[in-house]
Amino acid sequence: MANLFPNINWMDLIFATGETLYMTLVALVGTLILGTILGLLIYLSAPGNLWDNKVIYSITAGVVNIFRAIPFIILIFLILPLTVFLFGTFRGPTAALPALILGSAPFYGRLVEIALREVDHGVIEAAKAMGAKSSTIIFKVLLKESLPALVSGLTVTAIALIGYTAVAGSIGAGGLGDYAYFYGFTRRNMDIVYICTLLIVIIVFVFQFIGDIVTKKIDKR
């Protein structure tokens, strides 16, 4: 092992993996909440839908489109002042969270909106005919009926997030990207780059695997 990867400090590697998982999971929770809210707002305020409202629709759809248009590496720099204001530094995994969430929530928001659009209009009409409140329609019909699509969307988003954490690593966010870049690439220790790549691929596969199983389990169509 030591011959194959001469430059690797195994404790550092484990620590970096932990940081990557920490950033991914916390940012994923933030993305889930913010993205679901954004997706719901776009869907509900769209013409002909439950809260048909041009102003809210234009604003949310506009914000989502703008944030999705900004490349992630640039987004990190753009919100540096916010990060510093919140955490006093822009270094470390926690400081990377705002950028990660702002980068992926609009993406997930779109996926949520697409998933909601797939919900059969007739089912919503049936719920209205039963005298359901808007909140009942949102939580018990819209979100429940689109759950498999929401979960598979979240899987896709999680994998994109793992990639984002590696990008954030290049400006010192910590994690496997950081380790591969500063200890591997800049010092010409390619074995570190290889092992970090391998670990990231494994993490992605695990996320995909879990996502597929959950989607399959809840899909009763």
Partner: protein, 341 residues
């Protein structure tokens, strides 16, 4: 009773106005099955949605049991809707819920307690004949079973009115009959008023008491099913009646009859709302010394009895034939002698 007055729905597109429902007025008695028939685009789907305000009327009023639905606030409308069941062409079940969870949904909305809800759900499952399917998901059911879930769900909060939006149009003929049978059953058992819209005349013929024919957003003809069947006035109504009775041309003309059958009397028996004398042929043959030969007939069963006509050839001694005719005339069946042999 449901009173609909001058109900209109106008859809506005960029530069055009489209009157989907145009100044409709109707009275529907409590406990009746009322059918609205029309071709697609006639406005019947919009009409039924105006009743529970899934579509907001442009003008006019809908009154259910003395309460003006069109004047209700959003909150009151939600409560009122719990008294108006609705079933749909494509069932509109929640695929993420089992049969029993689907039926429990309107009870959750109405805030019924868990224990009470479970009891009610079981009653409904038994009522619609889905016992044993409680834990199944909609994807595991046939179309007819899905509609049974739809019906059970619509009945959960003991509604006074059931709206049926093309409820059998997606089903095969056999399943259609079973679902129509179930609707008649619950209409009789629960005294529920049923309003159904359809483009299939046999649905009207089988279960409705009264019918309105819609064309271009208006009611062009209405009355009891038998009256509309017996004396259709408008061309569109005649077309619908032909759907079940066949075209008038399909019946033998008198000339043709005479050409082929030369002996005996040829009689045309007309049945309207007939319930008592459906066995008249065998009765005549037993009572009198005559032979009765059925030439052609077309009899349909409706909610109010049999309707249609029957051509028969009657042979025998003249006095016996006269007596038999006398007897038929004494019943409620109309008889017309087309030829004497």
């Amino acid at each position: 009773m449901i009173v609909i007055e001058q109900l209109s729905k106008i859809f506005k597109t960029n530069h055009q106005e489209f009157k989907a429902v145009d100044n409709m007025s109707l009275k529907i008695e409590k406990g009746e099955i009322f059918g609205v028939i029309g071709y697609s685009g006639a406005g019947k789907s919009t009409f039924i949605r105006l009743i529970n305000r899934l579509e907001e009327p442009t003008s006019g009023t809908v009154e259910i049991e003395g309460q003006n639905v069109t004047g209700l606030s959003k909150h009151d409308l939600r409560i009122k809707r719990q008294e108006i069941g609705m079933i749909f062409q494509h069932f509109n079940l929640l695929w993420s819920r089992t049969v029993e969870e689907n039926i429990a949904f309107p009870l959750e909305i109405a805030g019924v307690s868990k224990g009470e809800s479970a009891k009610r759900v079981q009653e409904l499952i038994d009522l619609v004949g889905l016992t044993g399917k409680e834990k199944n998901y909609p994807s595991q059911l046939s179309g007819g079973q899905k509609q049974r879930v739809g019906i059970a769900r619509a009945l959960a909060n003991n509604p006074k009115v059931l709206l049926c939006d093309e409820a059998t149009s997606a089903l095969d003929p056999e399943t259609t009959d079973a679902i129509l049978g179930l609707l008649v059953d619950i209409n009789e058992k629960l005294g529920l008023t049923i309003i159904l819209i359809t483009h299939e005349m046999h649905v009207i013929q089988k279960i409705c008491h009264n019918v309105a024919v819609m064309e271009s957003g208006r009611i062009v003809e209405q009355g009891s099913v038998l009256d509309v069947f017996s004396y259709p006035k408008m061309p569109v109504t005649k077309k619908f009646v032909e759907q079940v009775m066949g075209k008038p041309d399909d019946e033998l003309t008198d000339d043709l009859l005479l050409e082929h059958i030369s002996d005996g009397h040829i009689l045309k028996l007309q049945f309207v709302k007939e319930t008592a004398n459906q066995a008249i042929i065998s009765e005549v043959a037993k009572k009198y010394e005559v032979d009765v030969n059925i030439i052609q007939g077309n009899i349909k069963q409706t909610q109010e009895g049999a309707y249609g006509s029957l051509y028969v050839q009657m042979t025998g001694e003249l006095t016996a034939v006269e007596d038999a005719l006398q007897f038929i005339r004494s019943t409620s069946v109309d008889v017309e002698v087309i030829s004497h042999g």
